[in-house]
Symmetry: C2
Subunit: 415 residues, 2 copies
């Protein structure tokens, strides 16, 4: 028979069992923290109607549509496509079940998403996102914005992946200043330019802002927000001393409340930093924004981001639903942590004990020993093949069992 | 702005939070049992190459292929499709990483699968499967076949979904008898007919077997296997008294070994039953086969099935890889258990405590109380909106918190 060569598909990562066990450990840890803050689980189908995905920000070149491989008749599936994030499905879900949900609606969602990226190293076409969002009915208190860094801080502390910083800003600060320097009409474009300061440098950003119509003085005022070495309190003081406009002042007041909030919750000072240079590309955000990086591993990039938005589901309902959320990009993050040596996969089995098989005559005894160990709460594998003990020990060493139970005839006789 | 009406898509089920919490509980329970037997987790991408899916049993009318919604150039994704089960991906995975895996390779895999079914009530187009398989390198001991019912028995006992029976048979019994009555060449078709005995009745099955060329006596001998009321030991005795052929005898000897195996592991007698009338439709199986149903709720149908197969990955490798596995169809099963009243969703939040907010002035105190409760291991939600206490209590009652912490100014003053 001619064989099909099994090959990896670019952008669709998969793990060996030892890496998968580490992945599952991280996912469980994140889930436990989300649940400890009272976020309820939901899961939406991988599939949404294409019009739902395209209504808010979906790029039709990056969205995977579905078709049957052999279409014998028009199956009515032509409008189905895979979700590219978990925010659009959340918006659809909340609009659909609004009458059955209690608001504020707090949900977590840990699922893969799909993006039709060009095949390229490190560009994932399927990856997990771990999201939390709080959705209010018409209004949503700023205290929810303060809670997000507390969740993140707890997760990354317990993961022990080294020092990290949650940078925090408020879009209103940027928007206020942009309006003041005459870029109010090109706000989205200006924010996108400003967001790329680490990638393309200050001079290039300045040039782009000038092209949008900013004066040299305006550019200087905007760039003064970026790259400073001030502490959170120094930045707050500096910002509060500026007299720009109402939007700017509102942003600073919100930042102040949020910082007070996570200080009240006991988030350690070295886990967060107010940074008015943080922009985040998405148009979507209207208030608080967050981004988290590892201090010692800038090459890993952003491991968690999010923010506040005005109206989650405006495409589906007239009900105004403001929200705030964060997302941990687990699939992007973990292989980079493996590469950076921050996390190392260990054992490749969840069993702690291997019960060896001395000879096929003893199989019933081996199965009994295995059952008794499991009964005692110890994950146990029984080796059932006819192999020499030496090979069984090699197997256990390779998989990572802590202990091998060797029960030969004499051991079994004496009990 | 014109609104898009959010609507359910037929065949793509999703749950409200209370149901999702029950779903997650069941999934976690299954996972814990799988891990206690030393099955390692793996996860494969949702996507495989179409040729991989079609090589073994994939129906191209039921497989969803992927395309980009707007294809600006030939993106090279034309050969990608969603997996329709977890066995084909397992075969591809094992063939691909054979050099890096320790055999016997024991894995579990809990993921959704997709099938392009016609929209129809109860026909899922996305559903979770929870699979375990043990794959041997050239050989695989029958003791693994004995382990499967022990895993199933532990899971459904702990789920407390009422009495259940794991029916067990061996394909060689059927194949031996079919050869003996002259249907050896039409084996697959005869097994499929025999498998439908509950659906279409004995007379119709008899007619189909006669059309395949069976004599009346042959039909009688085959139908004698089905629908008996014998106990496991009575069946074994009856079967062992038959003198048919070598294949038949081999099947009975294997059944005997497997039954002894799960007796050794302490599987309760009322959880399993040898039933030579069990056929299972799939061509795939070559030895032991299993199927589990709830005794009091036949309408729920099969909740778990599986069996032994000769060669997992013959389409991808020359290495002979025999295996045995089972699959729990969680998405199909759970809504039916809800309908049958066997399981009832409860709370819709993982938080046990709601800290109420007396007034916005007290928010820092409320956040502190929440953080302290979480620190003590109690999942806690802090209510942050400006609402009357009565409404906060209503919210807690609706979501299912066990306890509401009411901390007004006097309580906070007195500590």
């Amino acid at each position: 028979m001619s064989k099909i060569k099994p090959e990896p598909i670019s952008g669709f990562p998969e793990f060996l069992p030892d890496e998968q066990i580490t992945f599952d450990w991280a996912r469980d840890l994140i889930r436990r923290h989300y649940e400890s803050f009272g976020f309820s689980p939901i899961e939406t189908p991988a599939v949404e109607r294409a019009e739902v995905l395209l209504a808010k920000g979906g790029n039709d070149r990056e969205i995977y549509g579905l078709h049957r491989l052999a279409e014998d008749e028009s199956g009515g599936d032509a409008d189905l496509a895979l979700h590219f994030d978990l925010t659009v499905p959340l918006a659809r879900y909340v609009a659909q079940y609004a009458g059955q949900l209690a608001f504020p609606f707090r949900r977590y969602q840990i699922q893969p998403v799909w993006r039709g990226e060009r095949p390229q190293a490190g560009r994932y076409r399927q990856f997990y996102q771990c999201d939390i969002d709080v959705i209010g009915d018409r209004q949503l208190s700023l205290f929810n914005d303060a809670e997000m860094p507390a969740v993140i801080s707890g997760i990354f502390s317990e993961m022990e992946i080294g020092p990290f910083t949650i940078r925090i800003n408020n879009r209103k600060v940027l928007r206020g200043l942009l309006a003041d320097i005459g870029l109010g009409d090109d706000e989205a474009e200006a924010i996108r330019a400003f967001d790329r300061i680490d990638k393309i440098g200050r001079a290039n950003v300045a040039e782009q802002l000038r092209q949008l119509g900013a004066t040299d003085e305006g550019v200087d005022r905007l760039l003064a927000l970026a790259g400073g070495t001030r502490s959170t309190d120094e930045w707050m003081e500096w910002l509060e001393a500026q007299d720009v406009n109402e939007t700017f002042a509102e942003g600073i007041a919100e930042l102040r409340t949020v910082v007070e909030g996570f200080r009240a919750m006991g988030v350690p000072e070295d886990h967060f930093r107010v940074d008015p240079g943080l922009a985040r590309g998405l148009d979507y955000y209207t208030g608080t924004i967050y981004e988290t990086r590892l201090d010692d591993h800038p090459e890993v990039g952003s491991i968690c981001g999010g923010g506040r938005y005005e109206n989650l589901a405006e495409n589906y309902t007239n009900r105004k639903l403001p929200g705030v959320g964060i997302s941990i990009g687990l699939t992007r993050m973990l292989p980079r942590l493996f590469e950076a040596g921050v996390l190392t996969p260990g054992r490749s089995t969840p069993a702690r004990v291997l019960v060896s098989l001395f000879s096929p005559d003893q199989w019933a005894d081996a199965l009994k020993i295995g059952a008794a160990l499991r009964e005692a709460g110890i994950p146990t594998e029984v080796y059932a093949e006819k192999k020499k003990l030496k090979q069984q020990l090699k197997y256990a060493a390779r998989k990572g069992h802590d202990l091998v139970v060797i029960a030969g005839p004499s051991e079994l006789e004496t009990g």
